[in-house]
């Protein structure tokens, strides 16, 4: 019995003293900021952002807030995008980021695949990070009992609730693995994958994952529109950012991209949102793979975005 008491006392002390007290959050380090929980933890320490960039991995790897801020005169920024985001996840993420950040402008990355008319809200690990079981059920997802139990246990045990971040923290302790927080959410995907075979395989996957046709009336477009309205309701300005894609995409799936461009521009026109299109600022050598920029490309792209935002401020 004394051993059980000691065990419980330690568990309660760790839970309350380390995780509920904010100590863990203040000391948290991550190895990569490409998932929602990590992004939110970083956002909690970067609360001075005046411009928020949200979207999927094209924004994550293509927008360097520090580069933009140097040029635009619009204040510090924070890149709140994460890999494999969808309009549904981006809206949820933006809402949660606004608990920490108080921006005057939100730049939403809107890609052709975001306005694919076959798109719909999909249950995923990322969705579980951003949505409570209640919210998932409201969104039409069949929530299994394990998800409800998981959420209940996470409420009881902060160690359990924060396990993803704890694992991330442990990863960051590996040599050289710690993410540089001064990058303010920007992340360069390591390595390069630009062989013809790799690019072709990625285009094939893009076609398989997005089988529909881009349209301003697509379900994803409706979600983006609702986010625009919500942000404006809070007094926050909005702009759309069109992501650069590798020329191989145009060669192999050009019709989809062109239709997507038209759909995004139509959506922006309907909502009177500025479109920032800096795709011409990058060259083929700036791509790390089909959709993501190398640091050199991200810098060039961000400078162009900075110019666009400066013009917007001046205008």
């Amino acid at each position: 019995m004394p051993a059980i008491v000691v065990c419980l006392a330690i568990l309660i002390a760790v839970d309350a003293g380390v995780f509920r007290s904010g100590l863990f959050e203040s000391q948290l380090r991550v190895s990569s900021p490409d998932f929602p929980d990590a992004k939110l933890a970083l956002a909690a320490r970067t609360a001075d952002a005046r411009v928020l960039y949200v979207g999927d991995s094209t924004v994550l790897t293509g927008v360097v807030p520090n580069q933009i801020s140097e040029i635009c005169g619009c204040g510090p920024g924070f890149n709140g995008a994460f890999a494999a985001s969808t309009p549904w996840l981006t809206r949820a993420m933006t809402e949660q980021l606004l608990q920490y950040e108080h921006p005057s402008l939100v730049v939403i990355g809107v890609a052709p695949w975001d306005v694919d008319d076959a798109g719909h809200f999909v249950d995923s690990e990322l969705a579980h990070e951003l949505f409570s079981p209640d919210a998932l059920a409201k969104a039409g997802i069949a929530v299994d009992p394990a998800t409800w139990i998981d959420a209940a246990v996470a409420r009881v045990s902060a160690v359990y609730g924060d396990r993803l971040l704890i694992k991330e923290f442990l990863t960051s302790l590996m040599p050289g693995a710690r993410y540089d927080e001064s990058q303010r959410g920007y992340y360069a995907v390591p390595g390069s994958a630009t062989s013809a075979a790799q690019l072709s395989a990625e285009v094939g996957r893009m076609k398989a994952v997005h089988p529909g046709e881009p349209s301003p009336a697509a379900p994803g477009a409706a979600v983006i529109t609702s986010l625009v309205h919500e942000l404006r309701g809070r007094g926050i300005d909005v702009a759309f950012l069109m992501p650069p894609v590798h020329p191989a995409t145009y060669a192999q799936n050009g019709a989809f991209i062109e239709q997507g461009d038209a759909a995004v521009r139509a959506l922006a026109a309907a909502e009177h949102v500025q479109v920032i299109d800096c795709r011409s600022s990058v060259t083929i050598d700036d791509f790390r793979d089909l959709l993501h920029l190398r640091p050199s490309g991200a810098t060039a792209h961000s400078r162009c975005v900075g110019e666009a935002l400066r013009a917007r401020t001046a205008g």
Partner: protein, 469 residues
């Protein structure tokens, strides 16, 4: 219910408490109920099927013990067990392969597939059944108590992914559940903590490197250095994953008073191809030795026959891992390697020295890495891309950064050092405290294991690799 899931974290202490709180005569029943709760948490119909197989094999054992026609009965019973395994695991594979083969001759076949979900652990408990039946055929006495046989077959810590038990060791240990063995339970807790640590701190951290690299190979190209390093990352991942699982299985069994044999013995220190299989997945390699290799004639035959036996044994070992040709190729490569080792061993006699040992180690581990490519790659084309890259014909692209490379090599070096240190037999001079400090130590240890378990709980697809077999 995964070993690193919250459900298991709740299940294990409840089962443990009920087991030791129950009167001695009811403990086996508690263990059986716990085992079926464990299995049924995944699938109730399949738990019922497991029960059916246990009943069948219990009756087979009794019949085999009595009949004069042992050989015929054994053949029929093994055919039944293998038939069940085949229906779930190999029929669709056979049909698909047949269709693919026919396509080579311009014939289009579209055979109807069963598309059955593979029952968890079926490959493992089928092998336990076969071991039981063969050993009775060879002269062992069948287990007459259905309950005891039932626990042997359905024991939850080892049911899903081994180690593959032997009834001669397991059933007698049921006699020792009358008293609580505190040192064994403490060792069990430590094993569970160590297993969770291997899984969450190492295996799951290494998997992104391997996934990224093999995905690139599947896409058609990978750089030479990346190919070697992601394969190294996978070899470390599968070791930490499977040996971590085994630690948790052995630790869980120890909490109930059972000693389950080890499954790994420093495999990445192996200095010859044969040596590796004395150290890796030992319960499988000894099973294959006893129930495939020796019945085929073992090593007391002409050299060419022995080489054939090695090849057949390892091909079957590969096929056991999965119904896919790349697993067969993996087994075939090992079979060829072992056969070649058997062929050349009499001609290559080197005086033992440190240099020879290091050369043997380097050659063996290179072979192990090359073989893992066939195991991990999803297709032959991906494996070919990876192997070509390893041979120097890699792409100019590079997936891994210097810090990724440092992390992978660092873990490998650390594993070698820790394994070597552990084998020196030195242990820290720690004495168990007495008096008031004792519960503090036990409480702290339990809290540590619980905290590791809470952190280890999966957040996504972090299942153990060997669950799929």
């Amino acid at each position: 219910m995964l070993f690193n899931s919250f459900e298991y974290l709740l299940f294990l202490p409840v089962a443990w408490a009920l087991f030791w709180a129950a009167p001695v005569r009811h403990r086996v029943t508690v263990l059986l109920v716990a085992s079926y709760v464990f299995y049924a948490s995944w699938s109730v119909p399949y738990a019922a099927m497991v029960f059916g197989l246990v009943v069948a094999n219990y009756l087979f054992g009794l019949a085999l013990g009595r009949t004069r026609h042992k050989r015929a009965f054994l053949g029929a019973f093994i055919a039944f067990d293998l038939g069940v395994l085949a229906v779930f695991k190999y029929v669709d594979f056979g049909l698909r392969s047949m269709a693919a083969g026919a396509r080579l001759f311009g014939v289009e076949l579209d055979p109807p597939l069963l598309q059955l979900v593979l029952p968890l652990g079926i490959s493992f408990f089928t092998f336990e059944f076969i071991h039981y039946l063969v050993d009775i055929y060879r002269g062992d006495v069948p287990v007459h108590s259905f309950t005891r046989f039932h626990v042997f077959a359905a024991f939850f810590p080892t049911q899903i992914a081994g180690p593959i038990k032997r009834f001669q060791q397991f059933v007698p240990s049921l006699m020792s559940i009358g008293h609580f063995d505190a040192p064994l339970a403490r060792d069990g807790l430590m094993l569970i903590g160590r297993g969770l640590g291997k899984k969450v701190l190492l295996a799951d951290r290494l998997s992104p490197f391997a996934n990224r690299g093999f995905a690139a190979a599947a896409d058609g190209s990978i750089a030479t250095a990346d190919a070697w390093l992601v394969t190294l990352a996978f070899s470390l991942q599968i070791f930490f994953d499977f040996s971590g699982y085994t630690d948790i299985a052995r630790g869980s069994a120890a909490l109930f008073g059972f000693r389950i044999p080890i499954n790994f013995d420093g495999p990445y220190l192996a200095t010859s191809i044969a040596d590796f299989w004395h150290r890796w997945h030992i319960s499988l390699s000894t099973w294959l030795r006893d129930y495939v290799y020796i019945p085929l004639g073992g090593s007391r035959r002409a050299r060419i026959v022995v080489m054939r036996n090695l090849l057949i044994t390892m091909l079957l070992g590969g096929l056991w891992h999965g119904a896919a040709w790349h697993f067969v190729a993996w087994g075939g490569l090992w079979g060829a390697g072992l056969a070649l080792h058997h062929l050349l061993r009499p001609y290559i006699r080197l005086r033992p020295s440190r240099l020879v040992t290091i050369a043997g180690w380097a050659f063996t581990q290179t072979f192990v890495l090359i073989a893992w490519v066939l195991f991990r790659a999803d297709s032959f084309s991906a494996a070919a891309v990876m192997l070509r890259a390893m041979a120097g014909a890699g792409a100019r692209t590079s997936l891994l950064t210097p810090k990724d490379m440092l992390a992978i090599v660092g873990v490998a070096v650390a594993l070698i050092i820790v394994t070597l240190l552990a084998r020196t037999g030195r242990s820290l001079p720690v004495r168990m405290p007495q008096g008031a400090l004792r519960p503090v130590l036990y409480g702290s240890a339990a809290a540590f294991v619980l905290l590791v378990a809470l952190v280890a709980a999966p957040t996504g697809r972090e299942a153990f690799i060997y669950f799929q077999f």
